[in-house]
Amino acid sequence: MSLSITDLSKHFGSTRAVNNISISLPKGQVLGLLGRNGAGKTTTIKMMLGLLQPNSGTIEWDGKPLSKKTLSIGYLPEERGLYPKTKIYQQLRYFGTLEGMNKSSIDSAIDYWLDRFQIPEHKHKLAGELSKGNQQKIQIIATLLHDPELIILDEPFSGLDPVNATMLSDVIEEQIKKGKTVILSSHRMEQIETFCENVCMMKQGEIVVSGKLREVKENYGYKNLHIQSDESLTEVLSSLGHLFTDKHPSYILQVSNETEGLSILNSLREKNVSIRNFSLLEPTLHEIFVERVK
């Protein structure tokens, strides 16, 4: 286990921003950190980066306190910014030097990443001259320039058009394949489902859901029974006493397990209902999120 957060708490006066949370993340895996605004995600990240001191608890990497001195960390904050009147290569050199890189490795990394994000022509431009999307690419480059071991991305896709979002997805994939440990904080559930093996949902400073994404879904407590029929099933399903969502010709019912699903299917057959399609699916991350953190 690489990243280990144990009984972490942070209070601001009487406000409990983070209350006794514990998170484990093996090296080379991806964690999706979810929660509404003010849930405590950013406070947790800032404690990991050493920007805030916890009131109690520990944050360790390989059994030692997590520190920038012992681990290279790349952080893309939610609120983005660059020096508007400074040339791109100058500020990337500045960021790289602060991360302990030497001039030649910085320059080659700058060229690599500008090519990778297809914006080499912006190297000598002022940041203020770039579009919002391209500025965001530069910020992502600043996060990855020093090839960090632990990458923390806070809402990385916001402000990117679909083409650039796909490009960033590819870059994140590459980093995961390279064995980098990634923490992804986002409100976009589809991205979390794409990249993250692990999820952690926070609400009012506490963890409400945590674990392997697959296990979380499997053991969440219900499954979604999707039924498609050309007939109206409203009356029949009501008579069975199940709550359902009516989106004719589709009907979605929450069932506790496969047996209950099959039982409903049999009941419909007994009533000679013609069923076009039938599937039993796990709840989506979006559903879990809405239910658990609302």
Binding site: L49, L51, R80, L82, Y83, F95, L98
Partner: protein
């Protein structure tokens, strides 16, 4: 140390490549060179051309002798017929003035015609000459005893011996103004740098790469280097003027205050540099830490206002010290750290401070810098990570105590 060096060099490069720095350096050098050039060249052309129309026969004015003795004016005899013509010349600025000497009932009258500005040196000299002639004439007419006449005509000598020279007054004013301007300008550069870094959200990236305190020190010292560069540019301009031979004029002055460059010694320059650096560092801590709590650039002015007021207070107390360096409030002010850079320096230039007093003021200043730096570091650390609406001074105090 490596992080400090990186931050320092980055901001130094930003500062000295900024338009503001380039323009201000050129303007400062231009002002210094322009001042000396103007004084040098205008002193050669500053001869006043005055006409003297003597309508009397008794009161002879020795024009040639006076012209020989005084280089600042050129007196020329004007005949009675040409008085009107010469007055028009004065009116049209072709000549600088006309003196008409008339006599009524044996009593002389001197009338001085000029356009806008009178040259009282000339009237005073002419008056003396006429007065002497009038006295001699009266003594002669009234048959006064020669020994009494001799006694009456003897000039009383007034010896002007200042115990303390005020020739350095102009220099003091110049240095006070420079100190005030550079501390305020460089302090505000730090303020703008901190607040724009925060409002543009670069701070979010930066605080993960370098400790906020290192950032603050890097900015403060890079801005200080900019201030020293300004001072150096003034020094270079002065040396250029000196090489060109423009600094030798006896009549140098700023706003009517004499500017004696002979008091401009290395020690004086060194003490200016020491007090500038100490004063700047003290105020820069205030500017940097107060600016760190600002979330919007438009709030910056109100937050740094107290620090600016302190600096203005130092300036005005410095002006008071110029006229009375031993005043009670000036003496007290020269030990108060926020005022001492300006006030004690003024006392040093006016030779009104002992080495012991200078030492005590520097020790107090250094101790205050240490205390303020600790408080500023705490405020900066908590301030840069705080994004909210308006910040009150109650919030600032809470952040210091955190």
């Amino acid at each position: 140390m490596r992080a400090f060096k990186t931050v320092f060099l980055f901001h130094l490069k930003e500062n000295i490549s900024s338009k503001m720095f380039i323009i201000m350096t050129i303007v400062l050098m231009g002002l210094v060179l322009g001042f000396f050039a103007f004084t040098h060249f205008s002193s050669d052309r500053g001869v006043s051309h005055i006409g003297v129309a003597n309508e009397t026969t008794s009161y002879n004015v020795p024009l040639k002798e006076l012209n020989k003795k005084h280089k600042s004016f050129d007196l020329k005899a004007v005949s009675k017929d040409n008085i009107k013509k010469y007055k028009n010349k004065v009116k049209n600025n072709d000549r600088d003035g006309l003196i008409v000497i008339t006599e009524h009932n044996g009593f002389p009258t001197v009338t001085y015609y000029y356009n806008n500005f009178a040259d009282y040196e000339i009237t005073s000299i002419i008056q003396q000459v006429v007065q002497q002639t009038y006295l001699q004439k009266t003594i002669h007419d009234k048959h006064v005893d020669p020994s009494v006449a001799k006694a009456l005509l003897t000039n009383i000598t007034v010896q002007d011996k200042a115990l303390k020279s005020n020739d350095s007054m102009g220099l003091v004013y110049f240095f006070i103004f420079m100190m005030y301007m550079f501390i305020l300008t460089c302090g505000q550069v730090v303020s703008m740098s901190v607040s724009s870094e925060k409002t543009s959200r670069v701070m979010e990236i930066m605080i993960t790469k370098v400790r906020p305190i290192v950032m603050m020190y890097g900015k403060i010292f890079s801005s200080m280097s900019m201030g020293i560069a300004y001072i150096a540019s003034i020094g270079i301009a002065y040396l250029i003027a000196q090489q060109l031979g423009w600094t030798g004029s006896d009549s140098l002055s700023i706003f009517g205050m004499p500017l004696d460059l002979s008091v401009l010694t290395f020690n004086l320059f060194l003490s200016f540099l020491v007090y500038f650096i100490l004063g700047y560092v003290l105020f820069a801590f205030l500017f940097a830490s107060l600016s760190s709590v600002v979330s919007r650039l438009e709030d910056l002015g109100s937050v740094i206002f107290p620090a600016s007021i302190l600096m203005m207070g130092a300036f005005f107390l410095g002006i008071r010290a110029m006229t009375d360096p031993t005043d009670k409030w000036v003496t007290i002010g020269s030990y108060i750290p926020f005022f001492s850079p300006v006030v004690m320096f003024t006392r040093i230039v006016l030779e009104a401070a002992t080495p012991m007093e200078i030492g005590i003021s520097i020790v107090i200043l250094l101790a205050t810098i240490v205390v303020i730096s600790l408080l500023a570091s705490r405020l900066y650390l908590n301030g840069v990570m705080r994004y909210s609406g308006k910040t009150t001074f109650k919030d600032v105090w809470k952040m210091i105590k955190k």
